[in-house]
């Protein structure tokens, strides 16, 4: 029985767990703590939580100062503001000196469906990947959010992580582990490789089921480390396949499609992608509606994969 869990409480709960054993953990938010769920940390450790008001730039540089003071600072906001509004602060105050600031971009991708283009983050992974010293993590479900928050605390240096706003399919066992750069094979297959992150992993699994009906065997792999991207591992996953299809709730520019194309730059394995085209989002009554409108569907993934297989034979 498939279950869905909202990954946002997983963020706040894991921060609390970390905070209980490590006094260096502090949290900051820019008036969205009740959405990002850093409020759980505030409730437990009021002295180590800093409500920064609607001032993301100040939040990021203050987090830098806390990190310079020996703290491990988790700063959260919506992805679009965390990665966009505070880019300069993340680059200059945090990333050049490689400080222990962990940025949670909540309500990522199109998951804030109702709020429209201004609140939908389709380029955050690209922006964050471009910054030297930055680690970029894209967990696929609530369990992996827990793992990624713990991993972020242990990593020396800045980390950006993406968290969905809505319940996502529980795919990982509760005893799953996380290792930076390790791919998770969720389904074995020999004809095509479907590589995805976040909510698009579920779509890729559904695409594999569709492909199976057409006699195509698809391997489905989840990518939760977008940087440092495991190029060698990606190349090995693609080896012997008739094609690769990436899927992401993000623009095709600078995200998984870009990274995989780079990985395959000297390979003969063809690839295609499913991603947001070079356009902004818009308001809708559900993320599902938007995913259909922007082509982020299992059918689209399966169609592109089938086409690659057909071209190869």
């Amino acid at each position: 029985m498939a279950t869905y869990t909202n990954p946002r409480p997983a963020y706040g709960e894991t921060l609390v767990e970390l905070g209980k054993v490590d006094p260096r953990i502090v949290a900051l938010d820019a008036d969205l703590c009740k959405s990002t769920m850093s409020v759980l940390f505030q409730d437990t450790f009021p002295d180590r939580y800093f409500e920064m008001g609607i001032a993301e730039a100040n939040m990021m540089s203050t987090a830098a100062g806390l990190a310079l003071g020996g703290k491990i600072a988790f700063a959260s906001s919506f992805a679009v503001f965390a990665a966009g509004r505070a880019y300069d602060q993340i680059r200059q105050s945090i990333s050049i000196p490689k400080l222990n600031v962990k940025i949670c971009g909540s309500s990522c991708g199109l998951s804030d469906y109702a709020d429209g283009a201004t609140h939908q983050s389709i380029e955050d992974v690209a922006i964050m990947r471009a910054i030297p010293n930055m680690t970029v993590l894209t967990p696929l479900d609530a369990t992996e959010v827990r793992l990624v928050v713990r991993a972020a605390a242990a990593i020396q240096g800045p980390v950006y992580m993406r968290v969905n706003r809505n319940p996502v399919l529980d795919l990982l066992d509760k005893d799953a582990t996380f290792e930076l750069g390790r791919y998770r094979v969720l389904r074995e297959g020999g004809d095509v490789l479907l590589l995805a992150h976040g909510v698009m992993v579920e779509k890729s699994l559904a695409a594999a089921t569709l492909l199976e009906k057409d006699g195509i065997s698809a391997k489905v792999v989840s990518v939760s480390t977008m940087k440092p991207f495991n190029y060698q591992g990606a190349l090995e996953l693609a080896r012997g396949m008739k094609g690769v299809v990436t899927a992401e709730e993000h623009t095709y520019i600078g995200g998984l499609a870009s990274a995989m194309a780079f990985a395959l730059r000297r390979s003969s394995v063809p690839m295609d992608y499913v991603a947001v085209e070079d356009s902004f989002g818009q308001s809708a009554f559900s993320t599902g509606e938007l995913q259909i409108a922007y082509g982020l569907t299992a059918e689209n993934i399966a169609g592109k994969a089938a086409s690659l297989v057909k071209e190869a034979s």
Binding site: N58, G65, L66, Q89, Q92, S93
Partner: protein
């Protein structure tokens, strides 16, 4: 009250900082002489008097922190670090050389004594707030000193940080506004006018002290007063002269980031050497 000998020492240090700035920038290369020289007396008072710091142990936990938010004036901080013994003064001449720890703007991870990476204006007060909060969490008595430029106050983030400090009752932090009135392309008042500075900072609920920022005695008195203020941060509005101490650079926008000719360089050294001589220790006493 500070004794006369200590005051002389600080003035002597400020003169040496100005000399180092001139030597570092040299002939024919651009460098931020103006803002470095306007801040020199404040930097000398901090490193030579107010701050607890240990040049032999730059990461000493009990140290006070200094953040040069207007990172382009870092050369005067580099000079202070060298003059107080963090590294040999000979190292100063590697400024901006490939591989040197003396970057065009200060980098925390490259140089001992640099507490934050600055250069993109407007970040430093926020960083200083974070440092002050971390010190408070750790129950450390150390304090944070942050120099801001008056042109820098055009950056909205400064005012985000200014609103934040009093809310959190941060009182282990002092911001010093180097109010030299000139930014890269001209007068601050003709761009985004940051005046009236004292009224603005008061309105943001800071304790405000207004001084002549090139007068060591006034700077010291203000720094001492700031230490007594509890429950809110202190802003010292330091009225300064851009390029102070170098006659041709004083109030001259061309030396915000200008290059000196050989003749100007020689002239500048003559002037700073005269200041060094004026405040030199009396014969028979040990040079500092």
């Amino acid at each position: 009250m500070i004794d006369k000998e200590k005051l002389r020492e600080i003035r002597h240090l400020a003169a040496r900082l100005r000399r180092d700035v001139i030597l570092m920038v040299g002939v024919g290369q651009t460098g931020h002489i103006g803002g470095s020289c306007s801040s020199a007396d404040i930097v000398a008072a901090l490193y030579g008097y107010k701050m607890k710091h240990d040049p032999k142990n730059p990461k000493w936990e009990e140290r006070d922190r200094f953040v040069m938010s207007k990172g382009h004036s870092a050369i005067v901080q580099y000079a202070a670090l060298a003059e107080t013994g963090y590294f040999p003064t000979s190292e100063l001449l590697t400024l901006k050389k490939m591989g040197s720890m003396l970057q065009g703007h200060p980098e925390y991870h490259r140089m001992p004594g640099i507490e934050a990476t600055t250069g993109s204006l407007g970040h430093g007060l926020s960083i200083s707030n974070g440092m002050a909060l971390a010190l408070r969490l750790d129950k450390k008595p150390s304090r944070v000193f942050c120099i801001l430029g008056d042109g820098e106050l055009a950056e909205g983030q400064v005012w985000e940080a200014a609103m934040f400090g009093p809310v959190k009752k941060i009182d282990n932090l002092v911001s010093l506004v180097d109010n030299n009135g000139i930014q890269a392309t001209g007068a601050v008042k003709d761009r985004l006018d940051s005046e009236p500075l004292p009224a603005k900072w008061r309105a943001f609920r800071w304790h405000v002290i207004e001084i002549d920022g090139n007068d060591a005695q006034a700077i010291i008195a203000a720094l001492d007063e700031a230490e007594t203020i509890k429950g809110r941060p202190t802003a010292i509005i330091a009225h300064t002269v851009k390029g102070k101490g170098i006659s041709f650079a004083e109030n001259n926008v061309a030396f915000h980031n200008g290059a000196m000719t050989q003749a100007q360089y020689d002239q500048a050294l003559k002037e700073v050497d005269a200041a060094i001589a004026e405040f030199a220790p009396a014969l028979g006493t040990k040079a500092n």
